[in-house]
Amino acid sequence: MIEIHEVTKKFQDKKKFVTALKHVTFTVKEGQVVGLLGENGAGKTTLLRTIATLLTPTEGMVTVAGFDTMKNSNEVKKRIGVLFGGETGLYDRLTARENLEYFASLYGLSKHETKVRIDDLSRMFGMRDYLNRRVGGFSKGMRQKVAIARTLIHNPEIILFDEPTTGLDITSSNVFRQLVHQLKREGKTIIFSSHIMEEVSMLCDSVAMMHKGELVYQGNLESLYKTEGSRDLNYIFMSKLVRGNEHYAS
């Protein structure tokens, strides 16, 4: 369960304030898969970073599994797995296994737990062949698998993905999509941001739409289709944005 309450985030950028999040409030229940939509600069990454304890909200608060992200950040960190960008966050000069072992140690996993977990994950992603090779020479898809495995190494209950499939080919994107299905079956709570509407409509139970730092819609995908009278998420998204802009003009 993730509760975001009245969160505002301001950045100071060369004497100028940028408000990246404006009074954002919403809740993600356990086992839900939420798609986070919004134009470039809407505040998606900022919101995910705030949930992941990386950013301190200027106002408001976020709790994850009942723990405040600021006051109890360690408890939150133990329960959360985050992947920013599809295939980043790996050390090129280490092998895939060394990368995973390193992060496992940072999460405090024992040697045995680590071994079991790496075995499971590498079987799941079919990366046993290159587990002992240095990541530097990997293709995008291979890297993405290792990066996802890194995100899941400590078996987190909540997983955040920021644009996980950007820049990936169809095969690699499919790996990710299959994974989300599987994690969903395991009862994990997932939020991922995406610019690909079909991906969102395929994988998500509900969506959150952001526009210029504000949350313009949050709710169940099916009920959204019903109220909008369309199953074309792309179309719905665009019309929401237009309405959002009108809201700004007034």
Binding site: G85, L94, L106, R150
Partner: protein
């Protein structure tokens, strides 16, 4: 946890070819070059032979004038001036026809030194010959005065002796300047790829975010990274020193003498290692700040270069200071104290008070730098792009 992070960082660093190149190869090359340059310079000064053309007919007594000058070789020739022109000698000594008899009868005897002022070797030889002749002249005056019954010391009111300060010979002085200079450059250059990589590089590659969402304290991360930079610097420092010591011991003759510490050898080497470790730690703190400031590896390196250059600036003024002129501030100012301490050590001086001053001041500076680094590292602005 700290150990886990540290071990991983070290593994990562030493798999980087740049680090390996700069920590091991660079000091070896720099120090080897330096060692041989100095070895040649010293031996040039000490062993160079000068050839002086003299007449075949010069008698044994007169040749005795030059016995005290070990690096003057007498080249006997029928015509000394011709021998000089043929390049068989650097200078020629021409004595008047009846030189010996004039000396013994108390007359004025004529002597000519023929040299080439445009050649340094010839000038050096000419002045050595002049010195030899004036010594000879004095002995003749003394003989003649004694024959007259007067005290020879009348005409010799001064007895001039020139001597270099016991252990402050020129070669040691230069070496005392260059070893710390090369050591500090080697440590700075050796640890800078690691430093740039560990903060700015992680930001650039977005691994920093992955690190920061793990339940590891930021100060633990910071400290492990600092320790990694300091270790890489220390390795470079020790490799550099090892290369100097080994090469001087195995491959040189004169430097070995210029740098011999007797039974203090191990103390001095140990202290030199200690100084390198302290410097590597100080350097790591500076480079760490530059790397936290930088958003990319390139940016971090463009900050660290001027920082290191500036830091080395005060040390430059030291080259003109004699070993006995070093005072409190020379041991209190970081980096300068590395130069001062190593200078003392090269001269074989072990002063624990100076070492303590340097240690304390470096420690204080490091703590201050570390606190600044920690403050920055806790701010979102400096850890994420």
């Amino acid at each position: 946890m700290l150990l886990n992070i540290f071990l991983k960082e070290i593994k990562d660093c030493f798999r980087d070819r740049r680090t390996l190149l700069l920590t091991v190869l660079l000091p070896v090359i720099m120090m080897t070059g330096l060692t041989f340059f100095y070895e040649n310079m010293i031996s040039d000064n000490g062993d160079e032979k000068y050839r002086l053309a003299v007449s075949e007919s010069m008698n044994q007594d007169l040749k005795g004038i030059f016995t005290g000058f070990k690096n003057i070789d007498l080249v006997e020739a029928a015509d000394p001036e011709a021998a000089l022109e043929d390049g068989k000698a650097e200078a020629a000594l021409l004595l008047g026809k009846s030189f010996s008899s004039q000396i013994s009868t108390g007359e004025k005897a004529k002597v000519t030194i023929v040299g080439d002022t445009s050649s340094q070797k010839s000038s050096v030889l000419s002045s050595m010959v002049q010195t030899a002749l004036s010594v000879y002249e004095k002995s003749i005056i003394a003989q003649r005065m004694q024959a007259n019954g007067s005290d020879p010391s009348l005409v010799e009111p001064l007895e001039i002796q020139q001597r270099e300060m016991a252990d402050q010979n020129e070669n040691t002085t230069l070496l005392a300047m260059l070893i710390p200079l090369i050591l500090s450059i080697a440590i700075g250059i050796g640890s800078s790829p690691a430093a740039a990589d560990l903060f700015a590089g992680e930001k650039e590659r977005k691994t920093m975010e992955a690190l920061l969402i793990t339940p590891v304290k930021r100060s633990t991360l910071l400290f492990s990274k600092w320790l990694t930079i300091a270790t890489v610097g220390t390795v470079t420092g020790i490799v550099t020193l090892a290369v100097v010591v080994v090469e001087i011991q195995m491959l040189t003759e004169h430097l070995k003498k210029a740098l011999s510490f007797g039974d203090q050898t191990f103390t001095i080497i140990g202290l030199a290692v200690l100084v390198s470790v302290i410097y590597a730690m100080f350097n790591a703190s500076l480079l760490m700040l530059a790397s936290i400031f930088g958003k990319t590896v390139k940016e971090a390196q463009s900050y660290s270069t001027p920082v290191l250059m500036l830091a080395m600036f005060p040390a430059m003024g030291l080259s003109s200071k004699g070993i006995n002129e070093l005072s409190f501030q020379h041991f209190a100012i970081p980096i300068m104290n590395l130069f001062s301490l190593l200078k003392e050590l090269v001269f074989g001086i072990v002063d624990y008070q100076h070492i303590l001053i340097a240690l304390t001041s470096n420690l204080i500076c490091m703590i201050v730098l570390f606190i600044i680094g920690r403050m920055m590292f806790l701010k979102d602005k400096w850890v994420m792009n």
